[in-house]
Symmetry: C2
Subunit: 462 residues, 2 copies
């Protein structure tokens, strides 16, 4: 089987059949139908059910075999014992891709049923995502097989972060959270028991996807490790991969086994393999998205020397500590640069790195400091720690700093902790694809990750 064969129809199907479609408010088959019918999905929709003649006003079919037209994708949300029967019908109908939402397979010890499913895949060339999963969400095509209703789980906007996950709960909370944080996503896949479509298929596919700048993965167990590593090593040359691998602890591994039937394996083996492949390993969803956001912006630092520019001395001190934690250097600002800043800034500002513009800073001071530091060849990246709260900082600070931040090849990460006013300002910056963080630790960690990745790529090129 060719690895990424027939994967595209999961994300860009011209027509979908929803097997288990339902009129019952809030049921799985009902929510999925509504996802496709609310007007954003452009293809055709065929509800399939035995229980009703029409679903949400559409004609319902008793079997996929009754549908007159071609079907690109079948979504199956029916009791487990009927799934394989329907899959055989899908194969007969020549449907290429199926998402099996239904649980009741190996995760509860029904291994025989899962083996049968695999046999159908093998014989027919049908591709299956699942079983025991929430399936697919594509922010562009609006394919959305996730059975959590929109008033409970927000859907994020279009973006360049794709996510592969074994756990449906993980996908649901991440999508919801990303929508709340205004983080853009691209293709999101939860494949549960991964009886067929697996990490390597999806990594292959996403590495060539123009709408994906970074591949994030939630993993409990890898399955075919060799295949995974081959796919990852190939993909990493094109774009970064960030993985949250759970089941690290003994108790966690046992929990993973009873969750998706995954064998977690020795954690040190995973860490070593990830490192060898240039994969960024993270431990929390927050870290995953802090780092993914940084990768989306695609600015590449040439080294690990950072200048901190701030109007809050204390926050500069905290950030400096974190640089050392991540093996990043506090840049040695050139004497010329310092002299020029000293000439233009008030005498009580500190032109030594971290550069402290003090609590009565205005935009002009920031412009002076940024322009000088960006010209300095001793500086590879900048942490801009803005306390928007100080009254002397003009309200149009973002508009006035944007040309400088966008006009440089050096990555500038913005850090600002605070409430409503500060968050509004960060949002303005984020709309221009500038990596923003609400704490130094998160921002520095993300900066370290992109330095690690580009360092790896550089070494591999040699």
């Amino acid at each position: 089987m060719i690895s990424s064969h027939n994967i595209d129809t999961f994300f860009n199907p011209n027509s979908v059949a929803i097997v288990g479609a339902s009129n019952k408010e809030g049921s799985v088959g009902n929510v999925i139908c509504k996802n496709f019918l609310k007007g954003d999905y452009k293809g055709k929709v065929y509800p399939v059910t035995l229980s009703s003649e029409t679903i949400l006003g559409l004609k319902a079919y008793r079997s996929v075999l009754d549908i007159e037209d071609d079907v690109h994708l079948a979504i199956i949300a029916i009791p487990a014992k009927a799934v394989n029967i329907v899959l055989n019908e899908c194969a007969k109908k020549n449907i290429k891709s199926c998402v099996v939402i239904s649980g009741g397979f190996s995760e509860i010890g029904e291994n025989q049923r899962e083996e049968e499913l695999k046999q159908i895949v093998k014989e027919s060339g049908l591709r299956v995502v699942g079983p025991n999963c929430v399936g697919i969400y594509d922010t562009y095509s609006k394919v959305d097989t996730i059975f959590l209703p929109e008033d409970r789980m927000g859907r994020p906007r279009e973006g360049k972060i794709s996510l592969i996950s074994q756990s449906g709960a993980f996908v649901a909370t991440i999508l919801d959270w990303a929508s709340g944080e205004n983080i853009g996503m691209s293709k999101v896949i939860s494949f549960g028991n991964k009886a067929d479509v697996n990490y390597s298929d999806l990594i292959d596919y996403l590495s060539d996807d123009e709408k994906t700048n970074v591949i994030t993965i939630y993993m409990e167990g890898v399955g075919d490790g060799r295949k995974f590593m081959r796919a990852a090593k190939k993909a990493i040359k094109k774009k970064p991969i960030v993985i949250l691998k759970s089941g690290r602890s003994k108790a966690g591994a046992a929990a993973a086994a009873s969750h998706t039937g995954s064998l977690a394996g020795a954690d040190t083996v995973y860490s070593a393999a990830f490192k060898q492949a240039g994969i960024v390993r993270v431990y929390t969803p927050q870290e995953m998205f802090d780092i993914a956001k940084a990768f989306v912006c695609r600015k590449r630092p040439n080294g690990r020397r950072v200048a901190i520019v701030t109007d809050g001395g204390g926050t500069g001190v905290i950030a400096t500590d974190f640089l050392e934690d991540y093996n990043i250097e506090l840049a040695n600002i050139g004497e010329d640069t310092k002299a020029r800043m000293r000439e233009k800034l008030p005498p009580y500002c500190s032109v030594k790195n971290p550069i402290d513009l003090t609590g009565d800073a205005d935009v002009e001071r920031y412009k002076i400091a940024l322009n000088e530091v960006l010209k300095d060849e001793n500086v590879d990246a900048i942490l801009l720690i803005l306390l928007f709260q100080v009254p002397t900082l003009e309200d149009d600070v973002v508009q006035r700093l944007l040309p400088i931040i966008k006009g440089t090849e050096k990555p500038i990460f913005v850090i600002s902790a605070g409430g409503e006013y500060s968050r509004k300002k960060l949002k303005e910056l984020e709309e221009h694809c500038i990596p923003c963080y609400q704490s130094s630790s998160n921002g520095v960690h993300a900066l370290a990750a992109i330095m690690d990745y580009y360092g790896y790529i550089e070494r591999k090129r040699d």
Copy 2:
């Protein structure tokens, strides 16, 4: 000098003089006047300035000596060179406490000026917070010397977390952030160069303050370490202390020295001292408040055995990993408890810890699991990881679980990641003083901190 002598007038003054009061919109002296005049502060306000006859409609005085009545607190926001003259006048007027906002002392090398200030304190018995600070914010009395206007920096609601900080920037961002997160605060103090009032004074004072359940501290350098340790060891028996100590790294220590003139000292010495005194050390503001929130609720676990109850398998696995990171045990649920749960729950639910109620859980399942687990003597605390997004979970889930959560002595920490709907639900829980977190790592860390603290107290009692 008695350590916490005259500290209370900083927080509960019947009358304040604002030296450097101003009509100039947005200026330091203007914002501080407005803070006191907007109606929430109950005492008298006396603006002092040479530049105007009236300030914001109030009669202005040319000197504190001209004020007819007693003044409890003077707030001084004038150029540095005039500060000591005014302090002498305050002493003459028999004012007991002064907040010196003005910078321009040891932090820029003006050591002589700071020595003079210290001499005045010594001779007069005047207590001084500052110089070079943002001063005081008390959510109850509404003393608010912070010169950042309310439309830029939110003020948090009343609560039981107090904060002592050297850095004004730290205080500003924390207050603003806490207001955005709806975290209640009590007394907040930034003392900058700490020429007089210091950690030990404030720790002594806050340890007896009924409106403070937990003392949080941002520290660059401690000053008199022996005095600090004495105060901390005494206070810790009454309430927990959480410290973010920056200047950990070599570069960070250097930055701290030029920021508030602090000598950071060897970081390992601080860590050892904190551990010896039972102080919780944190590294980020997020950790500080995650942990402080947990302490505010004051439920005390008897040991380190935790049950996880969730409707999201994957999130249960992630949480299990973090338990091991913090040396917390995944409780061995009793066979009786498991049998009773097995009897009442659907067969596909996992009654083994982490207890997985699966993606079609309803409130009834949660009630069954919580009630059984709470009765189990093998369980000291519960992590309740709620995926509010699943459609089967009824909308009144919080109301129906509240009696169980509030009715037990065992701490129950709630974890829920997500967007708008989930956050609304967490807010409902937080209003009942239940520790809520948006990620497992944060919640488990906080749980570990309270286990560490109460374990320390227990050992010291022996």
